[in-house]
Amino acid sequence: MTMQYKIGDIVAEHDEEGYLTDITVWNKDLALLIAKSENIEMTPEHWEVVDFLREYYEEYQIAPAIRILVKEMKKKFGPEKGDQKYLYQLFPYGPAKQACKIGGLPKPTGCV
């Protein structure tokens, strides 16, 4: 059985955990839909994290582990946002996992 996200005539397949099978089909509408299925209302703060993860992936071809995300966010946006608690408030089920899923990226390596 294949599982899909559907918006109008756009269909995007995902795995059993909700990660996109083909990361190249990602777009912002799809992100909103995935966020909705994760019970997350996207705010500019959420987008900041998702965009950051996508840039990181583009550069290094991996999604960073949570401690690396915190470290790198701190470097870019300062200590207030480079903070585990802040990130968990935005993404309660794990910032690296949920934000990657919304960003259309694979599950971070090392995440079980």
Binding site: E59, Y60, Q61, I62, P64, A65, I68, E72, T109, G110
Partner: protein, 135 residues
């Protein structure tokens, strides 16, 4: 906490023809969570994993060579590249990607992760490890 152990990942295969190199990198990333003393060694065809300018677009494969540049953030900062292996393949260190890390103790100064070592030096590095994982 238990004392840190010295782990060496021994990379001897070229990057895209077999799965070894990518698997090694995945194990390094997963293993990084355990905060051990990690080194990577590149010898034989393994030196090709660090070639600059790899472009896998046309081959339709993942260009995981870029991931090596992220390893500094994971505290993986010792890349030992064997000089003889480079020479045997007509390569020099200039053919490799520059890989650096930021040293927190020195105001985030960028430092090179790659160290050229001779075969005898690499033998001594191997003999200094608690665990050697081969790929």
């Amino acid at each position: 906490m238990a004392q840190k152990k010295k782990f060496l990942y021994l990379n001897r295969k070229a990057p895209h023809g077999t799965i070894y190199a990518l698997e090694s990198l995945e194990v390094v990333l997963i293993g990084a969570a355990f905060e051990q003393d990690v080194s990577l060694a590149f010898l034989d065809d393994g030196v090709f994993q660090l070639m600059a300018g790899q472009d896998t677009t046309a081959a339709g494969m993942k260009n995981f060579s870029r991931t090596f540049k992220a390893l500094g953030d994971y505290d993986v900062r010792k890349f030992y590249v064997e000089r003889e292996s480079l020479a045997e393949r007509g390569l020099t260190v200039e053919d490799l990607m520059p890989i650096t890390y930021e040293d927190e103790n020195e105001d985030y100064a960028e430092k090179p992760s790659i160290h050229l070592v001779g075969r005898a030096e690499l033998a001594a590095i191997i003999a200094d490890q608690d665990v050697v994982l081969s790929f």
